[in-house]
């Protein structure tokens, strides 16, 4: 039996006929004018269509105006609903279903990168279009560790956008990736943050099976290091799990990237941390892995099903059957023919992802709810400055002395669609 108590004020109502009360919602963060007349950002117009795909003009219709008044690309479906043409890539979950959309609005892709240009920090970092991936979930439950779960039940709406390109060599060396992170929880935790998140160290990445791979200089070469890490599979990680003997199935779960971010907002005065959060972004079956023997280190998983056969040991399983069937249908004539990595029939396209929501910490009790930071989340001030990004956070301290983590969102979704292919 679940007995919800009458509020004390309602007890009083029994005696005094006094009414009970409730609370109020918040307004929009970024109301925007029409995008058509706005000056284009660097990110706007970057994408170019492949054969048979929607035109760039159709693609450009999906744009929004950033806080700087410039026009940015934003989320669109993989297939244009008006014309039926395919864009060949996807950006994840439609943000309009998020409970936070009313506050956040359309997310401008590349805004933090653009602000880095304006910040005059001697750094320039722009990312491709297809890597912008949105994920969100409403009313997710964050699980406190230990016995705190017997009394605390924190529920959150969360909306994330990370530029997570998993098709090129970019992330082998580059650790700066645009992250928009929005969360509002029942314990009054609230963050609306956009940064260039420094995920690990520049010039290197971590193997999914352990160890660091030094690759070369990053872009920009003076990229600051961060506390997270980019875990990317390498040939040495995949070989023992993918190449299997007859009768066995390859473990394509090893073909999995995990970008474990750690982002901090710090004040200019005292370099004090006012917020931090650690979402992990994972991509299953991306269209690349690292192999130092390949040009740029970029190897294609589809080739595992065709080119890499060590005697009886080779890649087997549903993924390879799909690749081999597609290659045969394509006229190559052999079950071991090569399927282009960017063929829409390849299962290695990075359309399955998930985000782990971890450690949303706000240390801003009685502080301002609006801060302006540089694109890396540092030098937080209460007034804007060149290249600054407006960050909104609750005026609370949500350190309870116990971890409040989880859950994983998006793991049960597949963002593939008509024509979606690598690079995605």
């Amino acid at each position: 039996m679940s007995l919800r108590p009458l509020p004390a004020s309602c007890l009083l109502l029994l005696a005094l006929s006094v009414a009970c009360t409730s609370d109020t919602p918040a307004g929009p963060l970024t109301p925007g004018p029409a995008a058509e007349s706005a000056a284009p950002s660097v990110a706007f117009g970057l994408w170019q269509p492949g054969p048979g795909e929607c035109s760039a003009a159709i693609h450009d219709r999906y744009s929004t105006v950033g806080p700087d008044g410039k026009r940015y690309p934003t989320w669109h479906p993989p297939v244009d609903p008006l014309t039926g043409c395919s864009f060949g890539h996807e950006h994840g979950r439609d943000p309009r279903g998020s409970a936070l959309y009313r506050e956040v609005g359309d997310i401008p892709f590349g805004y933090a990168n653009e602000q880095l240009d304006a910040a005059n920090m001697g750094l320039r970092r722009h990312e491709d279009h297809v890597g912008h991936k949105i994920e969100w979930e409403n009313d997710v439950r964050l699980g406190p560790k230990s016995g705190a779960g017997a009394v605390i039940d924190v529920r959150c709406d969360v909306l994330t956008k990370l530029h997570q390109g998993t098709h090129s060599r970019d992330a082998f060396t580059n650790n700066l990736h645009e992250l928009a992170y929005h969360i509002r929880c029942s314990d009054r935790t609230m963050l609306h943050v956009t940064v260039l998140s420094a995920i690990g160290k520049p010039g290197e990445f971590e193997r999914t099976c352990g160890g660091t791979v030094q690759v070369g200089p990053a872009t920009p070469v003076n990229s600051p290091a961060g506390n997270g890490r980019r875990k990317i599979p390498t040939w040495s990680c995949l070989e023992p799990r993918v190449l299997v003997g007859a009768g066995a199935k390859s473990d394509f779960g090893a073909l999995h990237e995990s970008w474990e971010t750690h982002t901090e907002l710090r004040t200019a005065e005292g370099n004090r941390i006012i917020a931090s959060f650690d979402p992990y972004f994972q991509v299953f079956r991306p269209s690349r892995y690292y192999d130092a023997q390949e040009p740029g280190g970029v190897a294609r998983p589809a080739s595992l099903c065709t080119a890499h056969a060590h005697g009886e040991r080779r890649a087997r399983g549903n993924e390879c059957e799909a690749v081999q069937q597609a290659a045969s249908v394509g006229g190559a004539g052999s079950a071991f023919a090569l399927l282009p990595y960017d063929d829409p029939r390849s299962p290695f396209n990075g359309v399955r992802r998930q985000v782990d929501i971890n450690n949303n910490r706000v240390k801003n009790a009685n502080g301002p709810t609006v801060w302006y930071t540089d694109p890396f989340g540092r030098n937080g001030r209460t007034a804007p400055f060149p290249g600054s990004i407006r960050q909104v956070l609750a005026a609370v301290n949500n350190d309870y002395g116990v971890g409040v983590n989880g859950p994983t969102v998006g793991g049960n979704r597949n963002y593939g669609g008509l024509g979606v292919r690598a690079p995605n």
Binding site: L3, P7, L12, L16, G147, D153, R155, V402
Partner: protein, 212 residues
């Protein structure tokens, strides 16, 4: 201040019918108990004169309610004790303390406790049933031996019961609802609030032994 106002209101509610009616030595007013009915319950009423004390136990269901609270209400054992006096034959006042303990397992306990000023009113001279109310403080907490969270706030109680004479004492089955006005649910480790408006809801059904 709201708790104080509530307390005053509650006490006035409980007291007002008493002062509107006759005292033990007055002739009965129209519509009140007949002399024979009063005589029938006289022995019980007589035992209510002077000081009184009460202690009991039973089952209670407590839960904490706020935007970030897990509000699963669970039945568990509860105890209470009270002591007081009687300024009027049909009106008792006193101080009560109560506690509730829910052993969840794995070293995790949930507790609720409170102390309050209470008033008890016997509306009928022919029956021994009563209504009771109180105002005081309450505290709800969860403790796993490592971390502890608790919420304290003013609380109001309202309930009713029955006096049953039994071998020189009085057994009083009672049902009471307690609700707090809402307070901060804090981590005892950091002092930071998870919620500012955590309200305790507590129902208890108990049997008390009362001495008059």
């Amino acid at each position: 201040m709201p708790a104080l106002l509530a307390a005053i209101a509650l006490l006035l509610l409980l007291v007002s019918p008493v002062w509107a009616q006759s005292t033990a030595g007055d002739p009965p007013s129209p519509g009140l108990a007949t002399p024979s009915a009063i005589k029938r319950d006289a022995s019980t009423l007589a035992r209510r004169i002077g000081l009184w004390a009460s202690a009991g136990g039973g089952r209670g269901t407590a839960g904490l309610h706020c935007d970030a609270c897990r509000s699963d209400a669970a039945p568990a054992f509860t105890m209470h004790a009270a002591i007081g006096g009687r300024p009027h034959p049909r009106f008792h006042v006193g101080v009560e303390t109560w506690a509730w303990l829910d052993v969840i397992g794995n070293g995790v306990d949930r507790t609720a406790r409170g102390t309050q000023l209470i008033a008890r009113h016997y509306p009928s001279t022919r029956r021994s049933w009563f209504v009771t109310g109180g105002v005081g403080t309450s505290r709800f907490g969860v403790d796993d031996g490592d971390a502890r969270f608790s919420a304290s706030s003013p609380a109001l109680s309202l309930g009713g019961g029955w006096d049953l004479p039994f071998r020189g004492v009085v057994l009083s089955p009672t049902l009471v609802m307690t609700s707090s006005t809402g307070g901060a649910l804090r981590s005892d480790r950091t002092g930071n609030p998870v919620a500012e408006d955590a309200r305790l809801g507590f129902w208890r059904g108990t049997v008390a032994v009362t001495w008059f």
